[in-house]
């Protein structure tokens, strides 16, 4: 047996396949046209509903209405009008000449009823209340049309046929329009929400009390003290459920209603309670409170709550997908968990009850500096977990956090991308920056950090630039009238100021390159030695630093002044908090002058501090020297004095709309610092501290 070789047909190329697909695609309807088709079908349906309904029902409707009118007239004792002809009235008028008045199609209420029913079925059918609304409206229209017919007939009976026609055609047409409109309004009113379930009143004021993040957008202008509508005295639905329906049916209907209703009350809870509620609701079955769970996935912004939801959905994948919204939940959870890292292993059973359930993971930059170390310790002391970040692999703070990563310097290429990678890997809830020079680089990636669930609160970039440039800072303070030493940017200008002088870089930090010049020669040499120098007269008096926290709206939340009794490398190692209204006022003015928000520390001098011992309101002379838009190295003293700047700032980061409290502090708390060590091997593994207790 031989076989003729059959040449294999060449495989179609991708472009061929695409071309064929597109050719087929030309006959499909897309986008708006697809939606138009759906709506046109509804309109065709409504039109057919009216036309077919009219053709089928008009004869019966005419007979029914004639019968109803004649029965009503019989009951009123009027026997000169008869409905014996079926679809017409026989009227024995003033001269007893019989007159036949046919009830034409335009006299019937059928057209109005069909129009309303078409509106109910084809436009408003999603709201089941429309059925009751239509029935009441239909009864009204039928009754009103009977009245119109009877009045027309009486006009014909007592006057003449012209009066009947005039009344029916003109007055009756107006009546027809009026009662049809009222019928429409009845139907709409009964279809609308009762005042207790509505979200806005008739003048557009929000009445539902929904929290902002959970409210439907634009449903009501928010004003205070809007009275919520009172519910009806007799609750028909409640009566039906409690008294008439069997308990099993009532429960089944309630469960069905619950599946489709968003439980807005969740939005009012705090994140911990929301997460607990989500776990509880999901635990009852995804198909029970589906709408609420979808609402959480839609509106929730807190990562811990979303984690709770995704975990709950992931744990219930055995549950039959009885509702399309469960599919949506499963898809959302899939996407959420795909972009989030694996959660840390759960605590063993029995320990979980004692675990702090809503610990934040907070990234802290500048972990090697004293401010970074202070912030890390404060966060860990509050029970949070810390992701320590620094450019120096030997930075001590990297050993003090729960996780650590090394970043490039903020001014190096790749800082932002590396930071994003680290954040994507660890998924911290918030980032605290303790190095002011990093703000500019961070500002470029805040949106992308937020997209990864990592919130930040950075001060205004102009304000930061002003603070970091000592010449610009001096100009801003002088413009605002805040006491600040005269500042010179050239030797000539400096020589005109009274000496001795402090010469320092305009963009320096941490007391680096700061020179004291006693003579003109020393001043000139210092201007050569210091990069980008400025000069100020050296101030007399006692030096202080004030730790401040400013709310997003510019409100000063706290100002903790402390004496810098001894410093090493620019860091306060001995000091004490003190109370002074003059210092607080000047510090507040300085912060406002640059428009800063968030944490900051203000350094300055009190020329004559002695009166403050006896009177904290003494009008002492205060001069501000520097303002650093970040936490200070001496922060632990302010924390020890009772002002929780770090915790409050963290709340301000993760809940931007939350009102932040004023923080008071205890004056007279003293600090004496000592060295502390951490040990680690070449591979970074910790080495036991032999001196640890």
């Amino acid at each position: 047996m031989t076989a003729n070789p059959i040449a294999p047909s060449p495989a179609p190329s991708v472009s061929d396949l695409l071309r064929r697909a597109l050719r087929r695609d030309r006959f499909r309807v897309h986008g708006a046209a697809r939606r138009r088709r759906a709506v046109v079908l509804e309109i065709v349906g409504a039109t057919l509903w009216c036309l077919v309904g009219f053709a089928v029902l008009i004869t019966g409707a005419r007979h029914l209405e004639v019968w109803l009118s004649s029965r009503a007239l019989d009951l009123l004792g009027e026997t000169r009008i008869s409905g014996a002809l079926g679809d017409a009235f026989l009227i024995f008028g003033p001269g007893q000449d019989p007159l036949i008045a046919e009830l034409t199609a335009s006299c019937s209420a059928l057209t109005s009823l069909l129009a309303l029913s078409a509106l109910a079925v084809f436009v408003l059918r999603r709201r089941p209340h429309v059925l009751g609304g239509f029935l009441v409206a239909a009864a009204w229209i039928l009754l009103a049309n009977q009245l119109r017919l009877i009045l027309s007939l009486l006009a014909g009976l007592h006057l003449d046929v012209n009066a009947l026609v005039l009344f029916h055609d003109w007055v009756g047409a107006l009546l027809n329009f009026g009662y049809t409109l009222i019928g429409l309004l009845i139907m709409i009113a009964l279809t609308m929400h009762s005042s207790e379930r509505a979200e806005q009143d008739r003048s557009g004021r929000h009445t539902a009390g929904r929290p902002d993040a959970w409210a439907r957008p634009g449903l009501g202008y928010r004003v205070e003290n809007v009275e919520r509508g009172r519910g009806p005295r007799i609750r028909l639905a409640a009566f039906v459920h409690r008294r008439l329906l069997p308990r099993a049916v009532s429960r089944r209907l309630a469960a069905r209603r619950e599946r489709g209703r968003i439980d807005y009350r969740l939005g009012h809870l705090d994140p911990a309670e929301r997460a607990a509620a989500v776990r509880e609701l999901a635990g009852k079955g995804l198909g029970v409170h589906t709408a609420t769970l979808v609402a959480v996935a839609t509106h929730e912004t807190d990562a811990t709550v979303l984690d709770a939801l995704a975990d709950a959905v992931a744990a219930r994948q055995w549950e039959p997908v009885s509702d399309r919204q469960i599919v949506a939940l499963r898809l959302w959870s899939r996407a959420w968990l795909m972009r989030a890292p694996a959660a840390p292993p759960a605590a063993p059973a029995g320990e979980s009850d004692h675990e702090e359930p809503f610990v934040r993971l907070v990234a802290v930059t500048g972990a090697g500096g004293p401010a970074g170390v202070a912030v890390i310790r404060a966060l860990r002391a509050a029970g949070h977990r810390v992701l320590a970040l620094d450019a120096d692999p030997d930075a001590v703070g990297l050993r003090l956090g729960d996780a650590a990563a090394v970043l490039p310097r903020a001014d190096a290429d790749g800082y932002g991308e590396t930071l994003l990678d680290v954040v994507a890997a660890h998924r911290p809830d918030a980032l605290i920056c303790t190095v002011a020079e990093e703000y500019a680089a961070l500002g470029a990636v805040t949106a992308r950090l937020a997209a990864l669930g990592c919130r930040t609160w950075l001060p205004d970039s102009d304000a930061v630039r002003t603070c970091l440039d000592k010449a610009a800072f001096a100009a801003a303070l002088h413009a605002a009238g805040v006491p600040h030493p005269a500042t010179a940017t050239t030797v000539e200008q400096a020589a005109a100021l009274p000496g001795p002088w402090i010469v320092k870089p305009a963009h320096g930090r941490g007391s680096r390159d700061v020179h004291l010049a006693w003579t003109g020669d020393e001043l000139a040499r210092a201007f050569v030695a210091v990069p980008g120098p400025i000069a100020q007269p050296r101030l007399a008096g006692r030096e202080f630093t004030a730790d401040v926290l400013v709310a997003r709206d510019g409100t000063l939340l706290t100002c903790v002044p402390r004496w810098r009794d001894e410093t090493k490398a620019g860091i306060s190692v001995r000091g004490a908090t003190f109370d002074s209204s003059a210092v607080t006022r000047v510090v507040a003015d300085a912060v406002r002058a640059v428009g800063l928000t968030g944490p900051a520390n203000v350094q300055g001098f009190v020329a004559d501090p002695a009166p403050l011992v006896a009177d904290p309101d003494a009008e002492v002379a205060v001069t501000v020297v520097e303002l650093n838009p970040r936490f200070s190295g001496g922060l632990p003293l302010s924390l020890a004095a009772g002002a929780d700047l770090v915790g409050t700032y963290l709340i301000g980061i993760v809940e931007p709309d939350a009102p932040l409290p004023r923080l008071s502090f205890q004056p007279g708390v003293r600090m004496a610092r000592h060295f502390a060590e951490v040990y680690y091997g070449a591979d970074g593994a910790p080495v036991t501290d032999p001196l640890a207790a």
Partner: protein, 481 residues
Amino acid sequence: MVTVAPAPRHSATAGRDAEHHRWALLTYALLLVGAFVAFGVDSTLGVIAGALNVIFLAYFFRHLAFAISAARWAEEDLVAADVGVEAYAPPLAVLVACKNEELVVDGMISALLGLDYPRDALSLVVVDDGSTDGTAARLDAWAAAEPRLRVLHRAPDAGGGKSGALNDALAQIQAEIVVVFDADHEPERNVLRRLVRHFRDPNVGAVMGRCVVRNGVESSLASTIFIDYLSGYLVNEYGRQALFELPAYGGANCAVRTDVLRALNGWNPHTVTEDTDLTLRVLLGGRRVRYDPAAVDFEEAVLSSGRFWRQRYRWARGHQKCLRDYWRTALRSPHLRLAEKIETLMFLWVYHIPVLCGLGLLITALRGFGIGGPAAIDILPLSTLLFAGPFAELSVGLLLGRVERRAAWLLVGFIPAFGLSILTATAAYFDGMWGRRYSWAKTARSGATSVRPAAPAPVGPAPVSFARRALPAGVPKGESR
């Protein structure tokens, strides 16, 4: 696609010698008289009534289609999750033109300063358009306390109305997107992010948000306008987007791509409805307008029938002029499909329909006196068509807005409102055709429901101290100060 600006016909209504169409009016009159002579008055009026019924039927189905589409999809749209709004924040400038707005300007600035958008990417520019009240002083006080806010002052005779003021501000900014509010508007905090998200699509030239009336409590007219806006934005504008992807840019609470705007030579100062004008120019330039019902701001409704007349007259006058300016270009546009051209023309015709309604009522009244024959095409009674479509939209608007039940009875107020709109549109039509001069009529404000924090003083009182101090005898215990 590079936007090609269609040349707007700046032959103008506003300010300069107005164009006129008296020859067209004369032609219509001669045609009518000719028809009377040739076919008789009754037949002619019957044919006109039939033609009107066809037009009304077309608009009835248009209203019904919008109502159906909104009833189907709008509620889910309102609560649909925002996607990636925090990750996309191009440089943006908010522009507001103010002329004698001292009653509302504080609330507006306060709302602007509370907007959620990266500070580095947002600039706020408010133009004082030659105000003669305290607007300029209030703006300066805000600017002194808020470095983010820039205030531009225009001379009282600078001209150009709102368009002129906005064009001056446009020349001063460097941003990818421009968002415009009016002085009586108080945007919701997230409005910028929601408006801007649509510009991810490079084909989008402008985005419209939803305006909501906030002072419905002040008068029954304001309540009626509140419902009118619900219907207009949640149903009509929504339906235009859902069915034709042709929503209108509305002049406030809306965003435009700056390069598109500059390519179109900015806002047209020779029209009194610069919004409709810009909508047409963006569409005819090949870009799209989008609508976001979740990008909300609150504004004031007018409180008196006099102000209502002036406002609606301006809208009618400007909109009718847009029809005359753009209908030919729209028909020839390669950027619009057939269905889109039809919808664009119907949209441009919207302010002519009340004129035809008036004509229909006149013909009906003449029939009452025995003049005029039956309509050649008597599909439905005229009265039904006049009211049924708008009432379907209004009903769906109330339901979507989740307004309390009692508001349904306010719909009765729309019957006189329809009557008034017939008068305003008819007056605007004849004035526009006759070429009567008309310039921008600013809408007066009430300011009663405006959130009105005063401009912060440049230097406020500082707190005395945060230290815990011993309380003097007799002072109740609590936070020290």
